[in-house]
């Protein structure tokens, strides 16, 4: 008897959660912008990855056909030294998306862990971590990045990733900390504590899942943020070295005024790639927020 009831409850739970999932998916699909965002993000990511897998030639300069307008051989035209822009935008997309996703995920993880610790333990631990985050917050991120670039004095991809992660965790941290502060007073946490559960278990297995949806949403929008940040850094000459194509690096050609006025394809395509991707990511993030956050109806 008890067995059957448990299974039935389990089945109920299962069906309830699957119906919730179905409902969420339906809700998401109803949000046309979010679907548009998802499609664009997936499509662009796949295209970039496909470009990387098929090893499109993004690096061979051809000075005889430099600054060529788009045609059937070069869909996006060629850049200032005759490299195929289509291939470069695809490859650059790989690096840009990598930078965005890697940094957003890792900085969210760091922010979430620190936020969980600070919010859950409170007191001195909290005070110390909050102070640290405030110190970081006091620096404009770009300035902090510039300072770190000056210290590391190298413009490699690894350095950039490191810098972005180190300087990007504060917003997630604040959010998770605040959620933890309010959630740790909830009864179910008290119950877990009364059961003598390990603190790490309570923090990460019991409370954290409740905070996951805002974390997911903010991670999504951070992807867009980091991609734009990389482009800005490239513009002031502190981004990834030129040998690694990123959307920011490619777009850098827009620094040259004559390129802007005379060779539109050199900057419009990478510019559109960045803007479209960022736009799509933001739509996707908004859609996820609508679905995951019941407050925002």
């Amino acid at each position: 008897m008890s067995n059957t009831t448990t299974t039935s409850i389990k089945a109920q739970n299962k069906s309830a959660s699957s119906s919730l999932l179905k409902k969420n998916i339906r809700k998401f699909l109803n949000n046309k912008l979010a679907v548009f965002g998802l499609i664009v993000v997936v499509f662009m990511t796949l295209a970039c990855i496909a470009g990387a897998i098929f090893q499109v030639d993004y690096a061979t300069p051809n000075l005889t056909s430099m600054k060529a307008a788009p045609d059937s051989a070069h869909w996006f035209g060629t850049d200032t030294i005759g490299r195929d822009l289509y291939a470069r935008v695809l490859f650059g997309g790989c690096y840009s998306i990598l930078i965005g996703v890697f940094c957003a995920v890792l900085s969210s993880v760091i922010g979430a862990v620190l936020g969980a610790i600070a919010g859950y333990f409170g007191g001195k631990v909290d005070a110390v971590i909050v102070r640290i985050s405030e110190v970081f917050q006091a620096f404009p991120q770009l300035v902090l990045v510039m300072m770190l670039v000056a210290i590391l004095n190298k413009r490699g991809l690894g350095n950039l990733l490191f810098i972005f992660v180190v300087t990007g965790w504060m917003t997630t941290f604040r959010m998770v900390r605040n959620e933890f502060m309010s959630l740790k007073g909830e009864t179910y946490v008290k119950v877990c504590e009364a059961f003598g559960m390990k603190r790490s278990n309570i923090m990460f297995n019991q409370i954290l899942p409740n905070v996951m949806s805002p974390i997911i949403v903010s991670t999504t929008t951070n992807v867009a943020f980091f991609i734009l940040q990389e482009a800005s850094l490239s513009f002031i000459g502190l981004g990834v070295a030129d040998s690694t194509p990123t959307w920011g690096n490619i777009l850098n050609a827009a620094k040259s005024v004559s390129v802007v006025t005379n060779q539109w394809w050199i900057w419009v395509f990478p510019g559109l790639a960045i803007s479209l991707f960022v736009l799509a990511i933001n739509f996707l993030g908004d859609g996820l927020r609508d679905v995951l956050d019941p407050k925002q109806q």
Partner: protein, 319 residues
């Protein structure tokens, strides 16, 4: 209230100290020898003794900790030191800081007014035209890299239409100072504002929606007061607090953005100073500008705290 302000002010001191330590020791870690920049290589190899004397006189041979406290002491006395090329950092900053504050300040005000304004109208007329257009423009404004916006604006408004100058903050021989300032500030301020407005708009809209769903709005309506009073007196005032907080969080982004914008518009602010200093490895300048920017951030956040306290009795009366 006074106690609150004092407490907040006192908390800034250790923060500033920590920041100064990070900045100083961080940049010492670059291992750049300022002598290489101050003395020409010819002199460097010719008069090793003189160079050593110079090094000694600059205190570069002292332990780092001594150098740090000397630097800090000098800063407190208003002596900001010298750039590697020998110009006084204080005089450089005296000219450039006001320019950057002007740029960032106007953008802040403009984006706050526009962003919060449109955000709140969007919330009140949810799913109306302003809401829809505002939301899409917000996303678009966030999607285009700031420097590209600046370049496009220069192309259209300075070069094609010739309405605004493309560089500098002051034109030679400008007779009408106000007009001159307006012409020079218009494009960079617009560029910075476009990026800022987007975030504020979204945030103000969401906050206002939250507030409008709260019970006290219903209470206000139950009193039979006109709708604009409900929105402005009861809604807006409560929505302002989180919006102010987000505004504060955006100030670093604004300063960061002004680094980029200054470089696009040849605008002689501290952002440009800092970019140039980093490219030139002039860490004396980098140290001071970073510290000043950080201090400005702290002051801003302090002011937001105070403003918050003024606006919210729960904070003011110490809860």
């Amino acid at each position: 209230m006074l106690k609150f302000i004092l407490k907040k002010l006192l908390m800034m001191i250790p923060m500033l100290l920590v920041i100064s330590i990070i900045v100083f020791f961080g940049l010492q870690a670059t291992g750049i020898d300022p002598i290489n920049f101050m003395v020409s290589p010819e002199v460097l190899s010719a008069n090793a003794d003189n160079v050593e004397a110079l090094r000694e006189s600059l205190g570069l041979n002292d332990p780092l900790i001594v150098q740090y406290f000397r630097w800090l002491g000098n800063l407190l006395h208003g002596d900001f030191g010298y750039a590697f090329d020998g110009t006084s950092i204080a005089s450089t900053l005296a000219v450039r800081m006001p320019y950057t504050f002007e740029l960032a300040g106007y953008s802040l005000i403009l984006s706050a007014v526009i962003g919060i304004g449109i955000g709140i109208i969007s919330a009140i007329r949810q799913n109306g035209i302003i809401d829809y257009v505002g939301r899409v423009l917000a996303v678009l404004g966030q999607a285009v890299p700031q420097f590209l916006v600046g370049i496009i604006l220069i192309q259209i408004f300075s070069i094609k239409l010739g309405w605004f100058p493309a560089a500098n903050r002051v034109s030679p021989g400008a007779t009408n100072q106000f007009l001159d300032a307006f012409q020079h500030l218009f494009l960079p301020v617009t560029t910075l504002t476009i990026g800022m407005v987007a975030v504020l708009m979204r945030y103000a809209r969401n906050t206002m929606l939250d507030v409008l769903n709260s019970d006290y709005i219903k209470t206000a309506r139950s009193k039979g007061i006109p709708e604009w009073k409900v929105y402005l007196k009861h809604g807006f005032r409560n929505a302002m607090k989180p919006v102010l907080v987000i505004l504060m969080f955006r100030i670093p982004t604004l300063i960061g953005g002004s680094v980029v914008v200054e470089s696009v518009f040849s605008y002689p602010g501290i952002g440009m100073t800092m970019t140039n200093a980093i490219v030139a490895n002039d860490y004396n300048v980098v140290m001071v500008t970073t510290l000043i920017i950080a201090a400005t951030m702290l002051i801003c956040s302090f002011m937001v705290d105070v403003l918050n306290a003024i606006m919210d009795p729960r904070v003011r009366l110490g809860e």
